[in-house]
Amino acid sequence: MELIRIDTQRAYEAIRERITTLELPPGALIDEGKLALDLDVGLVPVREAIKLLVHDHLIEAPPMGLFVAEVKISELRQISEIRLLLECYCAQQAAKFATPDDLVVLEALCREQSQVPADEPRWLFELDHKFHQAIARAAHNKYLADILDDFFGLSQRLWFLALPHLEFLPAAVEKHLELVEAIQARDEGRAETIMRQHIQSFYDKVFEILQNLSF
């Protein structure tokens, strides 16, 4: 248990959370000293954490300075294209390989989602993440699961950008339920279609919002 690793992990999680929840908005300047003071850790772990976040594409390190990465529509299109392909493939594979245990997990997550109050967006967000992880696990390909989790991370900030426009959330929960039914029925085509609609509508919504915000 080296302190530097523990503190780096803590700093990484805390800074990442500030970025994804937009507390540190896109384009914001990163002040290492202030972060170290705020988080009550040393400067070294903060620097290590920032390196990891640069790797995550959440912080940009141009030759001069350190900034929270901008949300660029052009890059988002690239991300969404790959994520759409992978998530759909994943849904199809899940319909093929899901075990009874995988289904029990998916059902439990859906049930929990339907019980989350509308004013608990963070909870809903975490559940959404868990649900996508569970689908990836049901596909029984750990490399696919790892890649998808990285892509999910890239889209996390969009979620919070879209938060003020919550009306699409119940529909998303509805889609999750349909998806589980398709997987249960081993209907690969339907699982793929539902996932496509689900992901596509999320990005459509996000693009709409971003254009209005004129990023």
């Binding site: 248990m1 080296e2 302190l3 523990i6 245990d101 029990v104 997990v105 059902e107 439990a108 997550l109 049930r111 929990e112 868990k130 992880q133 569970a134 696990r137």
Partner: protein, 667 residues
């Protein structure tokens, strides 16, 4: 120290956090030379404070030259005893609720939140019932916001952990709490002990993690950059990462470290180790150079676990035990630990004057409760919102200084000290107690006099007035009583039998034999109890409190150099050990008549072989590599693997693998 800085010098730091004191030693590992020792009061509310003080107090010229820090701690034992562990939900898979209830085992689970689920295996490792995963997940959703960790134990999971693993996989996908699995902590088949062990481990996870991080920070402040080891209950060492994952293994690590330290310093391979601390005296036996291990698994606060630990007996008698008088005017020593009067008066000189006044008072004669003082151990600050009115009143009164019990009772309008309602304040170390202790008697004898001798004398005088007993005779009686209590503990520890309660006219032959052996009371028959090993005394009061014990049992008392910090020496003297137990048992046909193949069940995996020999060979080879690699990762130097094979019923085997090595001390 400059003269010693030759190339092979290996400096190591050992720390023991006991019930009363935290001890630290700086030791040169190869020559076994203690270079410096330091004692500090243990701070139970936060053990790290005492540890930081000890590390600060030891003169270390070059902190960067320290090559290992090792620590034994009563943290786990204390957290369990005081209910300070985290909240745990215990999921029992395949357990029979009625059977558990019929043996009244519920209260043994170490958590009130336990739940039963369908599933589990039988003693052939075959599924006895389908696992109800949906129910597990539903319960997880219900409780996940009310607990800090989840423990899972499935019936016969050491033979087949499939249900525990499946439950883990599913639950970890729906919640982020730490999850502990029974089969990873114990390969013994006892299902209740396994569940208890898992629940205790879950409740201690973050407690021990926080502790390790705190120790690491204290090391960092002093510029010590070295591996950190934690002592197990059997005296062996594990890396801090191991300890953070399996905190239950640290139960009894303090007494185990004392025993190891006693052997390390005395070079005796067979001896009885007696560690006299402030609060307790702990007994352990060293045979052929090793601490004897309890066959049944460690017990703590009435909970039976399947954790391997030293065979120990602990009695509530130490240098700071409270000497008081019961209702029949019998003198009682312990089990409560208090601050000696000599020390209290040293801190608050007015106490000496008040005690003197009491000894001169003739009417009404002051009772021994006048010797019991309460005082504010630490100021809780001005924010008293979390306290009851009575608690606030007590704090306010004690802010003016220590006060004797009868006065305190009067001031809060109570009738008896049992009504003071201060349990919580005492537990949180806000209020402390002081009274007459063996340490005070040592002040009077002139054998140990760092504090206020007069106060101790007045204390004894008051007791002597009350009992109408001349002081020299009274002191002698108290020492005899203390020696008898320890001698009795030794006899009970070694025989595993009870010596009956002393009473003047008991017809019990055992009691007669015991007393006659100590005091030669009978005119015609003489008896003797002779301890065949020497007693090795450890802890500051050992010198005084054990001399007579050794005489009573006709043996020798050995006080090795630095015996007062041998526990801290023991924290570094142990070997690093990693062990695993692999179970091999037959896979039977449906009818149970034919052996289809053999299962090899290791902690983290299960494989199947057609031939028994292949199964055994695979278990030996894979287990060997795993424990060896884990020992190397834990910092062992050239670890040696010992393999033990035990036939465990028809066609079934247990293969025990242990990789043991001294810590690697090179930068």
């Amino acid at each position: 120290m400059e003269t010693k800085s030759h190339k092979n010098e290996a400096l190591v730091l050992g720390i023991d956090t006991g019930g009363t004191y935290t001890d630290g030693v700086l030791l040169e590992y190869h020559s076994r030379t203690v270079l410096a020792a330091q004692k500090s009061l243990t701070t139970k509310r936060d053990f790290a404070i005492g540890i930081e003080k000890v590390i600060e107090g030891i003169r270390i010229q070059d902190p960067a030259s320290i090559q290992m820090v090792s620590i034994s701690t009563t943290l786990a034992t204390n957290a369990i005893a005081e209910g300070k562990g985290k909240r745990v939900a215990l999921f029992l898979i395949g357990y029979d609720p009625e059977l558990v209830a019929s043996f009244q085992m519920e209260r043994h689970f170490a958590t009130p939140n336990f739940y039963y689920f369908a599933g589990g295996h039988d003693l052939f490792g075959q599924e006895k019932e389908t696992l109800d995963l949906a129910a597990l997940l539903e319960k997880t959703n219900q409780v996940k916001k009310q607990v800090d960790a989840i423990a899972i134990s499935s019936y016969f999971s050491p033979l087949n952990p499939e249900h525990e693993t499946r439950a883990y996989n599913a639950i970890s996908q729906v919640c982020d709490l730490p999850i502990v699995l029974g089969h990873q902590l114990s390969t013994k088949l006892g299902s209740v002990e396994r569940a208890t062990t898992a629940a205790l481990n879950a409740s201690l996870l973050s407690v021990l993690q926080d502790f390790i991080v705190a120790v690491r920070r204290a090391m960092e402040h002093r510029g010590i950059e070295a591996p950190l080891m934690v002592v197990r209950g059997d005296g062996t060492l594990m890396s801090d990462e191991f300890a953070a994952r399996s905190p239950v293994e640290t139960i009894h690590s303090g007494p185990a470290a004392s025993a190891i330290g006693g052997r390390f310093l005395s070079h005796k391979d067979d001896a009885l180790i007696l560690d006299v601390g402030g609060t307790t005296t702990d007994l352990a036996l060293i045979q052929a150079g090793n601490v004897t291990i309890s066959e049944t698994g460690a017990s703590v606060s009435g909970y039976k676990t399947s954790v391997k630990a030293a065979n120990l007996l602990s009695i509530g008698l130490g240098g700071d035990s409270h000497i008081s008088v019961d209702r029949e005017n019998n003198i009682v020593i312990g089990p409560e630990r208090v601050v000696p009067l000599a020390y209290l008066a040293h801190q608050h000189p007015e106490i000496q004057i008040r005690l003197k006044a009491l000894t001169q008072k003739t009417w009404p004669p002051p009772t021994p409760t006048w010797l019991e003082y309460w005082f504010l151990l630490r100021d809780p600050g001005d924010d008293l919102r979390s306290f009851s009115d009575r608690e606030k009143a007590l704090i306010k009164i004690l802010k003016d200084g220590p006060i004797a019990i009868p006065d305190l009772v009067k001031q809060v309008n109570a009738l008896h000290k049992n009504q003071l309602g201060a349990d919580e304040l005492i537990r949180r170390e806000i209020i402390g107690k002081s009274g007459l202790t063996p340490t005070d008697l040592l002040h009077i004898d002139g054998r140990h006099t760092p504090w206020d001798v007069k106060a101790a004398e007045y204390g004894l005088k008051l007791l002597s007035n009350h009992l109408h007993w001349e002081e020299p005779g009274l002191t002698e009686f108290i020492w005899t009583l203390s020696s008898e209590m320890i001698a009795k503990a030794i006899v009970e520890f070694l025989t595993e039998k009870k010596v009956p309660q002393s009473s003047a006219h008991s017809p019990d032959l055992g009691l007669w034999f015991f007393r006659n052996s100590l005091y030669a009371e009978h005119p015609h028959l003489s008896t003797q109890i002779r301890l065949q090993y020497p007693i090795i005394g450890i802890g500051a009061p050992a010198d005084i409190m054990l001399q007579d014990v050794a005489k009573l049992l006709h043996t020798e008392l050995i006080l090795p150099d630095h015996y007062y910090v041998a526990n801290a020496v023991g924290a570094i003297a142990g070997s690093i050990m990693v062990s695993e137990e692999i179970l091999i048992y037959p896979h039977l046909s449906e009818a149970g008549m034919d052996v289809i193949s053999y299962f090899v069940q290791a902690r983290d995996g299960r494989e199947e072989f057609e031939e028994l020999d292949d199964a055994l060979n695979h278990a030996r080879k894979s287990g060997h590599d795993r424990v060896l690699s884990a020992a190397l990762r834990s910092g062992a130097d050239n670890p040696q693997v010992v393999v033990e094979e035990i036939a465990d019923g028809i066609d079934s085997y247990r293969i025990r693998l242990q990789a043991v090595g001294n810590p690697r001390l090179s930068k």
